[in-house]
């Protein structure tokens, strides 16, 4: 197990470096940050001076090395747009995105797994149909539309929840539902499919034959095996939620890291974009790593592969 973790960890670090390098090269190719920084009245010489001042005229590898060296010490530079240190800027917004992501995935898992299990126990029953309907709707509803509908119902008609902002925990309810609902269908379908497959396998028949109680068969024998792919999926979805909650953050005016990333790209704010890409990549890597470890713990066979 220890060796397995070590191997995965080494791989994760390699992936992080690759991502940061590729994103740096892409941003390097994407355009001239000096022109954007200089503003509309700048002359050619002004832009040239800025390019030199910020070091954009140096070879890409040198710039990357410089950035990496500072980033490793936790110094992500200063945002071109806000003129504030990137680390502080991101830290403030990350807490909002993290809260939203954790709530979202928790909501998705807490609704999707029980629904998936229930649907697998009674295939083609009413509950299976309802679950199917919910998952189709979840895949089909664009989150901006779903978010606005929730606002209309719960904020304007019923006046139960505040429409936007982050002031209280009530502000997070609707964003959590919208974000979590998006991840729910995949998790539920996978739970259902996994459970169906496992329930028809020999060892479940054996367990039943030897007279194990149905609850024990379901949760100890079946779910534990069926959940393995769900864990991997949930980890990927979590990474996706942290980096991809832009639409939800924008509708509910949450000012999280996803929205910051989206806006920073438009503003050519390279230090912020670069730091955010690295952090989002790290999330992905950390969650995939955790999912691997969790799966290895659930299924000893995976430890050797």
């Amino acid at each position: 197990m220890f060796q397995f973790i070590l191997k995965r960890l080494g791989l994760a670090i390699l992936v992080a470096f690759t991502v940061s390098f590729i994103s740096f090269s892409l941003l390097f190719l994407a355009g001239d940050p000096a022109a954007a920084l200089a503003g509309e009245t700048a002359s050619g010489e002004d832009i040239e001076a800025l390019r030199h001042l910020y070091g954009f005229d140096r070879p890409m590898m040198v710039q990357y090395g410089d950035w990496l060296f500072s980033a490793l010490r936790g110094d992500f530079g200063e945002s071109y747009y806000f003129k504030l240190p990137v680390a502080g800027l991101i830290f403030d917004r990350l807490s909002i995105t993290m809260t939203l992501g954790v709530c979202g995935i928790a909501f998705a898992l807490l609704t999707a797994v029980p629904l998936g299990v229930a649907a697998a126990i009674r295939p083609n029953s009413l509950i299976d149909r309802v679950a199917l309907f919910l998952s189709v709707a979840g895949q089909a509803l664009p989150s901006f539309w779903f978010g606005l509908i929730l606002i209309v119902v719960f904020s304007i008609k019923l006046r139960w929840l505040p429409p936007s902002g982050t002031a209280t925990w009530q502000h997070f309810i609707m964003p959590t539902i919208v974000l979590g609902y998006y991840a729910m269908p995949a998790i539920m379908r996978l739970t259902r499919a996994g459970m169906l497959e496992v329930l028809s396998s020999d060892y479940i028949r054996t367990a039943r034959a030897k007279g194990a109680p149905e609850m024990r068969v379901m949760f100890k024998h079946a779910l534990r095996n069926a959940i393995i792919p769900v864990v991997s999926l949930a980890a990927v979805q979590m990474g996706f939620m942290l980096g991809g909650s832009i639409v939800v953050e924008s509708i509910f005016a949450l000012h999280g890291a996803g929205y910051l990333a989206w806006e920073s790209i438009g503003r050519n704010d390279l230090p912020t974009v670069q730091a955010l890409i690295l952090i989002f990549a790290m999330f992905y890597i950390v969650f995939t790593f955790l999912a691997d470890v969790l799966n290895a713990w659930l299924d000893p066979r995976m430890r050797s592969s």
């Binding site: 355009g31 022109a35 009245t41 606002i151 304007i156 006046r159 429409p163 509708i251 000012h255």
Partner: protein
Amino acid sequence: MADKASGTLYAGFTKELENVDSYFNSSREGVVMQRALWDGLIYRDPITNEYKGNLAESWTWVDDTTLEFKLRQGVTFHNGEPFNADDVVFTVNFVADEANGVKTQRNVNWMKSAEKIDDYTVRIHLKKKFPAAIEFLSGPVSMYPNEYYAEVGPSGMGLKPVGTGPYKAVEVVPGQHFVLVKNENYHDSPKGQPSIEKVDIRTIPDVNTQIAELFSGSLDLIWQVPADQAQKLEQMGGFTVANESTMRVGYVSMDAAGRSGMDPNPFTDVRVRKAVNHAIDRQAIVDNLLKGKSQVVNTPCFPSQFGCAQDITVYDYDPAKAKALLAEAGYPDGFETDIYAYRNRDYAEALVSYLSEVGIKANLKYMQYSAIRELNMKGEVPFNFSTWGSYSINDASAMVSQFFKLGSLDDARDEQVAADLDMADTSTDPATRIEYYTKALQRITDQAYWVPLFSYNTNYVFKTDIDYTPTPDEVLRFTTMSWK
């Protein structure tokens, strides 16, 4: 809950304001904050356009490049620091120094330095003749407290702004949330005394969410509301919907100088540029898409700006004439080109369809503003639908001189126009200025370098218990708002 009883007015911003320090942002939201938190030496009445003393009681031109101000006495900054000549000298010397990196250099780069004569007399020295100085001093140039600013700098000022203005900032979360309270000791300023106790501003990027906040009662005022939504809100009742024009002008620029390397480049031919002018029904776009107080504009500036003549060469909507001109120029079947645009996709698409009617196949390249501008500076944009807001400066130099004086954004590169504009920009005689602006605008329209399109408008939507009359310069003024 937001209402009169709470004494707090809740307002929504759409864009994240990068830095409250007015010298280090270039957004509309920044102008709104600047007018609330700080004062300039001079004030321009937004209705009558008359200049009045604000932090200065009076001013005189000592010579063509020197302005002398008698300052108002007894004014204090929000932190208690008294306002005097030292503050003016410090502010002007700081912002005029290019090394300090004021974001919009044209707002300040006409000033050379300031000099203290006595505690309440100060002189500002200009680099060269610049008659629009008074307009700039009543607009983007506001006075900062010398001791505080020297200590905290732009980033400190952005987090904890201190000015002499009608409102004080009590809370700033960069880009997201701003709370202002009434300045009880506000001097006897032509801006008037603030009436609303407290203003709470949140940034809500999605317009639909803003409207939901308005419905649920947690916002009192939103602005920059798109025409169709404003129309619906007006029909529903319960809100005041006010439409005002803004100084923003939409235009299409063409690569007349042949910088883009397009081969053959039809835009170098004046007949083609005239054909493009005749091909677009600007009035129809205004009537159907922009609506409100928008109007067709015939020259590259906003009609209320000093020197912005409108009755020059006007190109009517005449597709037949456009086709004839194209044929004459050797393009009987039209031609194909890229057209760039960064905002108002629907307007851009209307332009594309008008052009296709006369045979010009324009492929729309819809990109971010910064990306297009970068290409434009390198001269790689043959055909561009863009806009310019003039930073609310009521002088033609803020627009036409920005684009036609051989700078990197100048696609016409006409030496004669540049020379005339230089004359107009630097003369201190108003009649001479008008004469030369008119001359330059005449040549620009005769050569059809641009298609000046229309002016923009904006909609303000607020609760009916708020008394407020928006002004045509697109600046929200909390000072002139009150509860009914």
